[in-house]
Amino acid sequence: MAETTTSAMQRADIETVREDYLHMAQRRRLYSGVLILIFAVLMISGFNTADGRNAGGFWDGLHRLGDFPADLISEAYAKAANLPGHVLNALPALIETVNIAAVATILGCAGGVIFSLLGTRGLAYWPRLIPVFRRITDVLRAIPEVVVALVLIFIMGGGPVPAMIAIALHTAGAMGKLFSEVNENTDLKPVEGLQSVGATWGQRIWLGVIPQVLPNYFSYGLLRFEINIRASAILGFVGAGGIGYELKNALTFGHGKFDEAAAIFLVLFLTIVAVDQLSSSLRNYLTKGSF
């Protein structure tokens, strides 16, 4: 007798749980449906707006998409004999682009280390100034490289240095944030140990923190180098030297120099892929200890 009541009650309970669950599932489905609808409307109207404000329409241009690569390839193919020569000619500019990226990465990472050490709780030299250094890194990160590069070109004239400074500043901002996240995960015990024997701030950082974080710093630095190679090529296109500048010159000349442009495209593509591969295997080595 008593047993049947419990089972009936249990059944009623299960019934309510079931109903509640279905109710919740329905509500969730409604919410995600509405979200998806809003997203779809945004995408479609965004597409139409962008299409309307573009010089050539999307649907008109679609069939012309292959024309330029086809032009490029056919001219490069017709003058295939010149290609090795063009590749060789592009090398100095390529080295300049890589140099811009490398110097900017090294200087930017150095700046990032300083900003991150001054902006991490528990490690900062002036704990009260932590927010100040954090805001500085935020602003450095927020300014796109092209802005700094163009302003510096006005003052210094074209060349690799404006691009280098622009990328280095941005890198310092980006790395300042990433490194300070790394710093927050350091074990503070070595630092305290050093402090107890009377080490100065510099000694505590150099001997207590840096050995812990260096592999991480290095791995982020390599990742940044990949990004900076691309940035340095783009800035060259805007007028700051290197392979981007050569590419722009070859392209503005138009037909007749397309074989040169094709060679530059090829060199740029191969460099980016090579650097990506190299840095990803180095990073693997750093994190896992083997290639």
Partner: protein, 446 residues
Amino acid sequence: MVMATQDLDNLRQAEIARIGRKKLIGITIPAVLFAYFVYVFFAFDIMGLAERARMDNAAILVSDAVSYKTHVTRDNRSGEITVAIEGSRRATYSSEQIPEWANVDADSAEITLRHGHHVTYDGPIITYHHPEYGEIVIDTSNGVDLRIDAETVPDFINASGNRVSITTEGGRLSVTRSRTETMRYFAGWEMFFFDLASPYSGMSAGEVFETVTRGVQIDPEHSNFGLMVSNFWNNSIWRHGDVVWALGETILMAFLGTFGAAMIALPLAFFAATNFAPSKTVRFVIRRLFDFVRGLDALIFTIILSRAFGPGPMTGALAILLTDTGSFGKLFSEALENVDEKQIEGLASTGANAMQRNRFGVLPQIMPILLSQVLYYFESNTRSATIVGAIVGGGIGLLLTQAIQTTADWEKVTYYIALIVLMVVAMDAISGRIRARLIKGDGSGK
């Protein structure tokens, strides 16, 4: 005992060798870096740069970014005198609007500069009154004739043939055969809110508030408030409306590019993940495709795409879309490889088909990670869209490069940079907040 000492000795030797190696590395790395920097110092021609750098350009840039000048110009042929901000035709004062410091009549003018300097135009006779030096008279009736009492020309006057220019702390006077121009400098950004055509021009904030709340209706067609908003929006010098549109275009490029790429990459990622790919060949092909697209880079895409679609935001959006498809494909397929198989097995045991297994067993697991990655890219793409915009000619990047290339509108450059920084910081904050919720999973983020 002997053994133990020997072991200890070996250990000691090994340890000393290890420390020696570390010391060597500790010296080698800075030495290599130093050598590299020496090489770069010459490769980048830093010495030559010090000579080429135009510090006067830097001075112009800084002073122009925070101040502006008003020109009082006399056409030396017709004798007509105009007062205009930055000498721009669009910013010429009408005769009632001319500010008090410039007292202009038909053929004469009395211009008060700062620090007690002033200039008078009396027909073709131009007189510069310097509080310490005295009067400098220039006759423009026949060529440019500089008359001063002293033997030597003081160094604030630059006279050569048919051209005289006087630069002092009070302002600048420049005289050529065709025109006489006096420039007075003011701090701030000129006509930032209202241009000269607007009835609100020259009013203080309090006066504008008065007019909007209590003043008589200026334009019968609009309320005073509506007129104020429309005058601000359509300001002919600063073009606030266009600038807001350009910012919107930049965000739109990033939005379409990022989310479009995510929508394309998600289904493809299933074919590139080890545990979902139908065959090794398919997986290999899709992976290489992702690598290829990533390697091609936004720069090459922008160039190829602008040839097909012309300049504009759509081209920029597509360039971002193509590059990010590669990055997302890689990230998503890695996320898919890390899914928990148990939930999929559970669904399979209830007889779910592949579609249902993916929808209910896989997507809920990876969605938070995916969305947070997509948002992170969206945020960083707002910044890239500025750069891409500078190349394809769309959005705020276009306005910025135009303003920089004219090298005259540094106050606008400053304005645009401030807006870009604000936009990026705002996007960072919004997406950071959403990402934090997604990762913690405490909000209604799902």
